[in-house]
Symmetry: C2
Amino acid sequence: MNNRSKLKQCPDPQTECKECPVRSMALFRDVPEAELGWMQEFRDAQYQLPAREILFQEGDTAHSLYTLFDGWMILFKTLDNGKRQILRFLLPGDFFGFQVNAIGPTGGYIYGSQALMKSTLCAFPTIRLQAMIEKQPQLTIRLSEMEMHDMTLCQYHLIGTGCKNSLERIAFLLLELFHRVRLQRRGDYDEASNSIIFPPTQKDIGDAVGLSSIHVHRILKEMGSKGWIRCQGKRLTILDEETLMDIGQFDPGMILPKSLI
Amino acid sequence: MNNRSKLKQCPDPQTECKECPVRSMALFRDVPEAELGWMQEFRDAQYQLPAREILFQEGDTAHSLYTLFDGWMILFKTLDNGKRQILRFLLPGDFFGFQVNAIGPTGGYIYGSQALMKSTLCAFPTIRLQAMIEKQPQLTIRLSEMEMHDMTLCQYHLIGTGCKNSLERIAFLLLELFHRVRLQRRGDYDEASNSIIFPPTQKDIGDAVGLSSIHVHRILKEMGSKGWIRCQGKRLTILDEETLMDIGQFDPGMILPKSLI
DNA sequence: CGTAAATTTGAGGTGCATCAATTAAAGTGG
DNA sequence: CCACTTTAATTGATGCACCTCAAATTTACG
């Protein structure tokens, strides 16, 4: 465990895997119900992380693999020039921590991770991955699927920073996050107002799409004044989805999970 | 087969999988020698593609999965505004074509693919992937490894377009491609001159790192005048690798293959 | 050898960054 | 619950890294 972070183990009783509310999004989605108890043995524990807290930094030895259980997190990389690139926004069910910078299980994480709001994590030791796969070989297929999905999103972000202007990039990002939250159909999406809880700051948005927080602010203001969105107090409301989809060249289909086979 | 392309089947005899020179980089790297003959049955054929030819376009039905056998190719996406983003440069051994835009095997490719020089491909039908995996379950682990590797590269490119200036991005890209070619230790790398065959145009470079071809040219000229590189006639020579690594924040370790387990 | 494609160079414009300073909001401890 | 501190949002002014346009030259190629 990284002593830089204020990670705390959750008080018992912790959530049972077989009752997990994010199971349909998670790595162990396809593990048969009867095997879940066994799988749970591999789990380290559930942990809580306060808002804005760092879980691990780039280079930290990768002892654990994580599934975000509740909250919002980011994976990021900081450069020598002080700039930060957000690589992924993590929502409940998302799996992370298996990209390391060396061959074998002794490597370090190639990115840092931070909570954007109070978050809960399920962790299991990296060292047990092999045993888990041997017990449940179909995990590798699910792992590939999740990687493929992350890869697709990463490619769309690359397309954004490579080819789109500021308005288009931000429109895309807002819609992507909005749809990802809505797909989960949990309390964070409010159907009546078509809004979601939205913890990223303007700086976070900028660091995700390659813009300064000041310019992000101007674009958000423009989007607000045109009646496309409302964005205040950690809540994002989408008012004109069609226009935003057109501008951002976003298609909800591209964030749907795909099967490898 | 896509009739837009001038894909031609290679004249027999085609290369035997067990004698494949790129096997150590390829999907079937870990398949036991004894099983390779069986695996080869799944193969469609070897195909040849002329320089600058399109293999498939975004949206084409994904009938085949490909391994680049010889040559250079790119995966790219073109936007409504006419701009193009290069998502991956493909070198011999690289596997592509399994990212599709729909659930199940009936989807279309989410990117286009084009040869940068005369290239040879090995193809097998997407529909046989499941049977191959059932016969050789360890293929899914190797697939995950390859995806993880591609994902890492994609992330570094995102970091480039998101956080780096033009000089830093181009330095990174040149070194990445240089090292990837050199890792293969085939004829395309010349040790005496520390140079590689380098088919991308200045426009290709720009489309990969999010710059105009004109600006790419100015930067390449600057790099040349400072004695860092020589870049002419489809050949790239690295003269001052240390300076370039420093500027581009490139570490050769990050393109080395990693094991999942 | 002729045509298309890529490279090269210059001039001018702009989208976004940077700097600076104020206001508002969120977090913290008494 | 309020005073205090920190962080985020907001706004204006200025600058530059890179884009776009245009045209000449060189290279690639059937």
